[in-house]
Amino acid sequence: MASQDTIRFISERCDGCGDCMTACAKAKGSASRVAIVAGSDGGWEMALCRQCGDPKCVANCPAGALDKHRDSGIVDWFKDLCVDCHLCTVGCVYGGIVFDPAAGHVQKCDMCDGSPACVPACDKGALEHLSAAGRLHEIHADKEDMFVPGLSACQGCNSELLIRHTMRRIGRNSVVAAPPGCIPGMGTVGYNGQTGAKMPIFHPLLTNTAAMLGGVKRQYERKGRDVTVVALAGDGGAVDVGFQSLSGAAERGERVLFICVDNEGYMNTGMQASGSTTFGSWTSTTPVGEIGRGKSTDGKYLPQLLMGHGCAYVATASTAFLDDYHAKLEKALEASRTGFAYLHVHAPCPTGWRFPAAMTTEVCRRQVETNFVTLWEFTPEDGLCFTRGVGRPRPVSDYVGMIGKYKHLGPAELERIQASVHRRVEVLQGFRRRSTAAG
């Protein structure tokens, strides 16, 4: 699923009139870059660039003439660099980039500077201009932001983004627990009689969030009231001292939604290492010195452990893929009506990991592109399903190189990280159901 702009074709609405092609040709002063073609079932299909998240045309280009733009997400073609080999057209399964004999080179959709001419030209409604932000805005814009404007998270922190999105969706009929960590630290629970939240919120112990919420839920169930109970916990309150109560509540199937916002350490109190801190990481308790080389062991991978607890739903998520997160949040909320639901959201920390605040979303994306973070969901019925493919990842050095906490690492250590990334993907693939795992 693309996280940025794309055009959606709804084939059942298309009558093959070709108005879109006319509009495109007119807008571009050349042959149309979209093409209506006969579908195999007697309907119509559209050859169109999807502005893929993982574009094969770019991967195939030997000349660097195609590139996915960092900000817009649009796959750009550069005439000056193109060597007319047409390998890009072989890579694209959508017919989104094709040779134009009249022009003498390939052509592709460039989204018309954010306002594609084809979309309004279609009076059948068969074309929709989709952007992740637009989609999310459409669904959530009218919902109330459940936190005050003045939360004091660090610049570039994606936890604030995450909790605002989450609670905007869940709304007031909820009880939230935010154990000690960055989330209460930014003022959600409050100080001296003032609060940063509009729904009931509690500052439980670092150790007892899941058990405490289980008790809240049981009482509301007893009273016949449908209240959503949510944990907004850090990794310490889930992976480390919070693990026992989390494990127990999951095993009991308490009707709780537990969200772990994993910034791989105790960032709120000065970047001490946690069980979730990954191998090689500098932290204030795994420092780098004459002898020290950062954390000497791998991080504990909690979402995998939760699969062994009989949870109704377990998923991982990244804020670089917010529509994926929202889809999982929906499923997790539904699952938490009948059992324990667990969401593990990766939260790179610009302050504690040493990267520029403006880079957070790019770091999140790179984690996923390198398989350092994988996006998947698990239910006992369907097993594990990757919600973003794990084939052909970028080398993990593309991610590690962005982060200051890894800057002391040498080739051998990088190799170890790369090997453990591969191993984890293999292990996760083993959780797929046999029937779907085939191939």
Binding site: V189, P200, G215, V227, G248
Partner: protein, 406 residues
């Protein structure tokens, strides 16, 4: 007591079952349990009552005592009347949420089936667990016998939930001697207990409820504006609630006596003290043997009485001063130790209390009954002899370890 004042019935059970039956009568909303010796049969009884539909509470079989109390905190914040029980190492594991509960002003009832603390490794009774947490802000009351366990667990809910108190209550009954000792007791009729306790109203002051959204326990204190005053305000009201418990619990005992015909001393019981020259001071189940020893000594012409401490936290200073004001010497028997003071905790509290009184008397400290050891009539006979000797001016060095040669 021969004439039934209500539709109560008589049954035979041990202290653990009596506590469980009291819980049934108190109709809690949420009960969370984790078994530990010597409390296990109590939570087994509760589980069976739930399985039989006798107790309709939500039962949470948590994975440890830490989660037991945490789940109850959540339930209580959502408006539930709550109960659990624990012992020794279980209480130690529960400590983190335990010490937070009074500050949250959550009116829970938790039975402590008292057990000595390891190490040395032991699974037997002793009050070291309860005494270790005597300064955590929980109300602590100690029971003498199985009937008192049942009556006190019910009364404890009324005490905890009283709006002038709003604090959690530990009802302590001695491991082994009360947990497993079987007696004939009177079981009050359910509707009479309903009338006595009323509907729970436990989270009117602090709640996790979408109908009354609030931040529960935001950071308080520090040197920021109003921080210190705010924290002091909370702490002071907590201390005041604790102090209020003495009078409230006394009133509750009067009402209990009127409704159910059993009159227990709420704070301190004075036994044969009117004309006594000296007294022994007891706490918990040892009191029974102590009273027998006092009776026997009285028959020999000894002018000895007994002071039983029921409410230990808050410490009933005025009642202790009033009782000790009648005698010239006291022998204080503890079932645990104060490591800091080379005496028993009760002994230490009595000494502290006497400083506020002009009355001076000789005190002798005894420590007995550790790790399941019995404190027999013979042991109490020795206590009485040494206290009598102290009353005559010959005060033995304390503490005297009653089971040292057993």
């Amino acid at each position: 007591m021969n004439q039934l004042v209500n539709s109560s019935r008589k049954i035979v059970c041990d202290g653990n079952e009596a506590a469980a039956r009291a819980v049934v009568l108190a109709r809690p909303d949420v009960v969370s349990v984790f078994p530990i010796t010597p409390q296990s049969s109590l939570v087994e009884s509760l589980s069976q009552f739930v399985a039989d539909g006798v107790l309709t509470a939500e039962l949470i079989n948590a994975e440890g005592e830490h989660s037991v109390l945490s789940a109850l905190q959540g339930a209580c914040l959502a408006g539930a009347r709550t109960y659990t029980a624990t012992s020794g190492p279980g209480l130690a594991f529960m400590f983190e949420p335990y010490i937070r509960t009074p500050g949250l002003r959550l009116p829970m009832v938790v039975s402590l089936v008292t057990r000595d603390m390891l190490s040395p490794q032991c699974v037997w009774g002793g009050q070291q667990d309860a005494m270790t947490v005597r300064e955590c802000g929980w109300i602590q009351v100690y029971c003498e016998n199985v009937q008192e366990v049942l009556d006190t667990v019910i009364m404890a809910f009324k005490l905890a939930e009283h709006k002038d108190v709003l604090l959690p209550v530990n009802v302590c009954h001695d491991g082994n001697y009360l947990s497993y000792a079987v007696s004939r007791i009177e079981l009050p009729a359910a509707e009479m207990v309903d009338g006595f306790l009323g509907e729970p109203d436990v989270n009117w002051h602090i709640a996790l409820d979408p109908d009354r959204p609030m931040a529960v326990d935001p950071l308080t204190g520090g040197t920021g504006p109003g921080g210190a005053a705010s924290f002091v305000g909370y702490r002071k009201s907590q201390v005041r609630g604790m102090a209020n418990a003495l009078e409230v619990f006394s009133d509750i005992h009067v009402e209990w006596g009127e409704r159910f015909g059993r009159h227990w001393a709420p704070l301190v019981e004075e036994y044969r003290l009117e004309d006594a020259d000296y007294a022994i001071v007891t706490i918990g189940s040892m009191t029974g043997a102590g009273k027998d020893a006092v009776d026997a000594a009285r028959e020999r012409g000894e002018k000895v009485g007994l002071i039983k401490v029921k409410t230990y936290r808050p410490f009933p200073r005025d009642a202790i001063i009033a009782a000790l004001g009648k005698v010239k010497a006291a022998g204080i028997v503890d079932r645990s130790v104060s490591f800091a003071w080379d005496c028993g905790p009760l002994h230490q509290d009595v000494m502290t209390t006497l400083f506020a009184s002009p009355h001076r008397l000789a005190l002798v400290g005894f420590i007995g009954g550790l790790a399941g050891a019995d404190i027999t009539s013979e042991h109490f006979q020795r206590v009485i002899e040494l206290t009598a000797q102290a009353a005559r001016g010959d005060v033995s060095a304390s503490p005297i370890w009653l089971n040292e040669h057993d």
